[in-house]
């Protein structure tokens, strides 16, 4: 069979790849106004920080019906110590952070719009050091700073969510928003982005960023009950890569981590 026949095959394959590349880059070639029209509608939606805070409050009220706050001075002071470390750095943030601990065995943390972060007591019991909890908290702060929470809600619930804030919080929509946040699913790139922001925060707070990797290592090593902790594991599908990322995170040459002083054994026992 002649080479011309195989050349036809090559033409087909090259043609396919060229058209694929063309369509993949089409938005770059379109006039800007066209590209804007094609952009996904949800990108056009946005919320002010004040609206985010308002929405966060509505969702928190809804969640606190389901979860019981852990009121324990030992835990509170340990969490407050971590917050104090972050305080000078996050004070420039438009968000006002509020950290709460709820009684629940699940190894989880939920971040609400506007800077409210809910830690589950299961996560505190599971962590081997206050630095690991600080790392998880820094990661969640990363989600807030990168606006992942509100963008996720806008993408999944959309314009109705904006209307809910304006009209004072429709119970059904708020419940849907709370369930969406409980599902805790972010994209891989969002998780990586939150990791990077969180690790920067850790370094600034004189906490070694490898604490995040240590937490994931700990997760990987444990023979976890997957049914109970599936959500957390599903959200963090590439723990090994993230351990490597945290270990190779660039730190300044004069960086000296200052250990957190909380007596972690006591904190865990107090839960």
């Amino acid at each position: 069979m002649s080479k011309r026949v195989w050349f036809d095959f090559l033409k087909l394959a090259v043609g396919f790849v060229l058209i694929w590349v063309l369509f993949s880059n089409l938005p770059d070639y379109l006039p800007e106004s066209w590209a804007e029209r094609i952009a996904i509608e949800t990108n056009d939606l946005t919320l002010s920080v004040q609206d985010e805070e308002k929405l966060g409050e509505y969702i928190m009220e809804n969640l606190l019906d389901e979860f019981q706050l852990l009121e324990n001075p030992t835990t509170d002071s340990a969490i407050q110590e971590i917050v104090n470390r972050f305080e000078p750095i996050i004070s420039n943030s438009p968000y006002e952070y509020n950290i709460m601990v709820v009684k629940h065995d699940q190894i989880n943390a939920i971040t609400l719009p506007g800077g409210n972060i809910i830690l589950f007591s299961g996560l505190i019991e599971f962590a081997e050091s206050p630095e690991e909890v600080a790392a998880v908290l820094a990661h969640e702060i990363g989600h807030v700073e990168e606006r992942h929470i509100v963008n996720k809600l806008l993408a999944e619930i959309g314009l109705t969510l904006v209307m809910t804030i304006v009209t004072g919080g429709d119970a059904t929509i708020i419940h849907t928003a709370a369930s969406t946040l409980l599902s805790n699913v972010f994209s891989r790139s969002q998780e990586a982005e939150a990791d990077q922001t969180g690790m920067k925060l850790l370094v600034q707070a004189q906490i070694h960023p490898k604490a995040l990797g240590s937490f994931f290592n700990h997760l990987n090593e444990q023979d976890l009950d997957y049914n109970e902790n599936l959500e957390w594991m599903m959200t963090h599908p590439h723990n090994s890569n993230r351990v490597e990322e945290s270990e190779s995170f660039p730190i300044p040459s004069d960086f000296k981590p200052i250990p957190l002083e909380a007596n972690w054994t006591r904190v865990r026992q107090a839960i």
């Binding site: 011309r4 026949v5 095959f9 087909l12 993949s24 699913v185």
Partner: protein, 173 residues
């Protein structure tokens, strides 16, 4: 290839030599695919299985049928693979990437859609010409199938060929 066609390749059957039944079988190889694709939409493999089955059943009937069934079968392979690629990619986005898509995915989706559309259009054309008893060559697959079916270097036995034993002889004059 064309210049040497008289010596290398078997002569092509002409429309007036091709019985109605053969034309319908040849046309069927393209049309059968439409029904199979409709059934196979969630999992684009059944159409290929159906095409292989149709090819195996009909290929020995005549060179004309053999050519069209082979061309139909071969031309389905790339679209099936592309559709599988799309299915796997979409499943990965759904289950592992939390619905996060890239421009390359959307570009692939559109290109595969176009490839399927072109494949449907050319299959309809091929079915039309097959019904008229004519040859119709797809890019690459047409030439490849022609070579496989009509080349004298390929030994392939068709129904009726070689079944005639010469017993009756003319008288010796």
């Amino acid at each position: 290839m064309i210049e040497n066609s008289q010596s290398i390749y078997y002569p092509l059957p002409q429309p007036n030599e091709i019985p109605e039944r053969e034309r319908e079988d040849a046309m069927g190889s393209y049309l059968m695919m439409f029904a199979a694709v409709a059934v196979a939409l969630p999992l684009p493999i059944i159409n290929l299985v159906a095409a292989v089955a149709y090819y195996m059943v009909n290929r020995r009937k005549s060179r004309f049928i053999h050519f069209h069934t082979l061309q139909s079968l071969l031309s389905q392979i790339p679209t099936t693979l592309l559709n599988w690629g799309l299915l796997i990619w979409a499943a990965q986005i759904w289950f592992f990437d939390h619905l996060e898509t890239t421009n390359y995915f959307w570009g692939y989706l559109i290109t595969v859609g176009l490839a399927n559309l072109l494949y449907f259009i050319f299959s309809l054309l091929a079915a039309y010409y097959a019904r008229k008893g004519q040859m119709y060559y797809f890019i690459f697959f047409g030439k490849f199938s022609y070579h496989q079916v009509f080349s004298r270097t390929k030994s392939f036995k068709y129904e009726g060929e070689g079944d005639i034993t010469i017993e009756n002889q003319p008288p010796k004059m």
